[in-house]
């Protein structure tokens, strides 16, 4: 992108003499300070991505010793027309929309309830934040254990209510639902936290004015609370959508894509193509397409953010 705008580091530049602060000095300082970080990013992100871009036009495979052969856009055509990929796209979409929607509704609801409490707020928020800070690996393992069909605590509780045990992770629609439930458990606090930040920032005089006007509670919510919190909430939603889109670890631990391929998200499918099928070229094209989607989403995220900051 804009990485070309930074000239190479001139690390040996002596600091300007005391009292003499020219713009040139500032410039050199800025370059010296920024270059190491940008170089690290170039080396670890941009260079690998360019390599992937190159590989995406070849039939390269890690396991074969043959040199890569140029195949043009064939990999991209394969990916975009593959019915497997279409199915994974639908799965990912169902997962992203389902999880983010559920988290937003729950998170905002909880934040609203907490914001009306006068006592216990600190304790409540701290407790709610526990799931969010845990590693997806740990969370996946927790729930895999609890969802176990034979000795899992979830089925055990259902049993004591007189209900039949459910195969949470090994039946078709259940597995995807379980995935959404687990993700919601982990990330509802995130939405809650941001919604709460928005709710507590609503200036009190607005509510005071509304109560003088004897406005109904719904009116206050609809015309004061919600419009003021929405921009912040939107940022949280965009952030979560990007994270959910690139989700990998939870699927890997919880269902491993199964049963069949019903919980294979795009991220998981890329992994299978690359590391189990060894079609490095195809996987690279796949990856580049995913990166494009992420870039578009990140653009939106940044746009909402800039809008919020300008207010």
């Amino acid at each position: 992108m804009s990485s070309t705008t930074t000239p190479p580091a001139q690390a040996s530049a002596p600091p300007p003499a005391p009292g003499r602060t020219t713009r040139l000095g500032d410039r050199k300082l800025a370059v010296t300070f920024i270059s190491p970080a940008l170089l690290l990013l170039l080396f670890m992100s941009i260079f690998p991505l360019l390599w992937a871009l190159y590989l995406s036009f070849t039939d390269y495979s890690v396991t074969r010793d043959k040199p890569a052969k140029f195949v043009g856009l064939q990999n991209y055509v394969d990916i975009l027309t593959s019915s497997q990929v279409h199915q994974r796209t639908l799965t990912t979409l169902a997962y992203v929309v389902g999880a983010v929607l559920l988290q937003t509704v729950l998170g905002f609801g909880i934040a609203y309830l907490i914001s009306r409490r006068r006592r216990g707020q600190g304790v409540l928020t701290t407790l709610f934040l526990v799931p969010m800070m845990l590693s997806p690996v740990v969370v996946g393992l927790f729930w895999k254990f609890m969802f176990d069909a034979q000795f899992g605590v979830v089925n055990s509780m259902l049993g004591s209510l007189g209900l039949e045990p459910v195969e949470w992770l090994t039946r078709m629609p259940n597995a995807l639902i379980s995935l959404i439930v687990v993700d919601t458990w982990q990330w509802t606090p995130f939405i809650m936290l941001i919604a709460l930040a928005g709710l507590t920032a609503v200036p009190n005089y607005l509510y005071e004015a509304a109560s003088i006007d004897r406005a109904s509670e719904w009116f206050r919510f609809r015309h004061i609370t919600f419009p003021l919190v929405w921009p912040l909430l939107l940022i949280a939603v965009m952030f979560r959508a990007i994270e959910a889109f690139r989700l990998f670890d939870l699927v890997y631990i919880l269902t491993n894509g199964g049963p069949g391929v019903s919980t294979e998200t795009l991220s998981f499918h890329v992994y299978k193509v690359a590391f189990l099928g060894f079609n490095t070229g195809t996987a690279s094209a796949y990856g580049i397409l995913m990166v494009l989607v992420v870039l578009v989403m990140a653009q939106f995220y940044l746009r909402y953010l800039t809008k919020l900051k300008e207010k």
Binding site: M1, S2, T5, P15, G19, L29, A30, F33, I34, A37, L38, L40, L41, F43, M44, F47, L49, L55, L106, I110, I114, S115, R116, R117, Q121, L124, T126, L129, P131, M132, M133, L134, S135, V138, G140, L141, F145, Q150, F151, V153, W185, L193, A197, T200, N204, Y207, S211, L232, I235, F239, R246, I253, V270, A274, S284, G287, M290, V291, L295, M297
Partner: protein, 307 residues
Amino acid sequence: MTISSDRLVKAGAVTDTVADNPLPRRRRRGRGRNIVEVTLLTVVAAAMLFPVLWILETSIKENRDVYAVPAKFFDFKVTFAHYKDVFFASDGGASDVSRSFLNSILVAGGSTVLATLFGVPAAWAYSRFPLRAKKDQLFFILSTRFMPPVVIVIPVFLMYRELGLINTHIGLILVYAAFNVSFTIWMMKGFVDEVPAEYEEAAMLDGYTRLQAFRRFTLPLLVPGIAATAVFALIFSWNEFVFAIFLTTSQDVRTAPPAIAGLIGGTTVDWGLVAACAVVFAIPVLVFAFLVRKHLVAGVTLGAVRR
């Protein structure tokens, strides 16, 4: 937390003046509603915490009770055998998992130091100086953080194979440092923006160079922000799984997340041990998260949202 509590009390008071209306019917409805709300919150809190409590409980149960059907909630014998297994192998030496914890400390610590050393000066420069295409540069930095790890890991894997960095601590440290440096720049830029540039300008009028002004006057004010940012970077590296599992294969280098995930690979799973590992692994994260709870909103949105 991030909430200014006095403001909330006021907000509550306002709500109350509405509820304390002379109309008795309305007051009763307000109280009933209060009960409903508290009940709802309690239910949600219980649902949120139950899995955590359940794992804690599983980690101190004997194997017999772990697999009991129906599940035993209270009447089980307490044992700390699983915690002993986390750290010690059956022959008395250090277990594989305990070694992976050491690797995790090394990798998370190393990448955090690197990201902080590179990120903080960059954040300061982005905050203070007019630069060409600054917005584009910052977007580029942000977008590297959002890349799907599974996609990045394919070329990184090939690159590391050429450079001999597969199965090395330094390889993992570099990947995490790159992810964390973008976070550090975004997060720290917010903190630097809050320190008035006038401080440095005043110092420069007194004869300090720009660099000295930064070191003497701005940097000390940034220390709390740097600490919070570093803690978030630490948590990210500590929790990371995807790069760890694809870029390392040997027990000597492997960090804790893949090592713990590896425990469920076999035909029989010792869930008591898994639970104990998960608890030991999660405790430092929770302690650190508690320390930076004031900055959580900023931290989880890459410093984008701060209140």
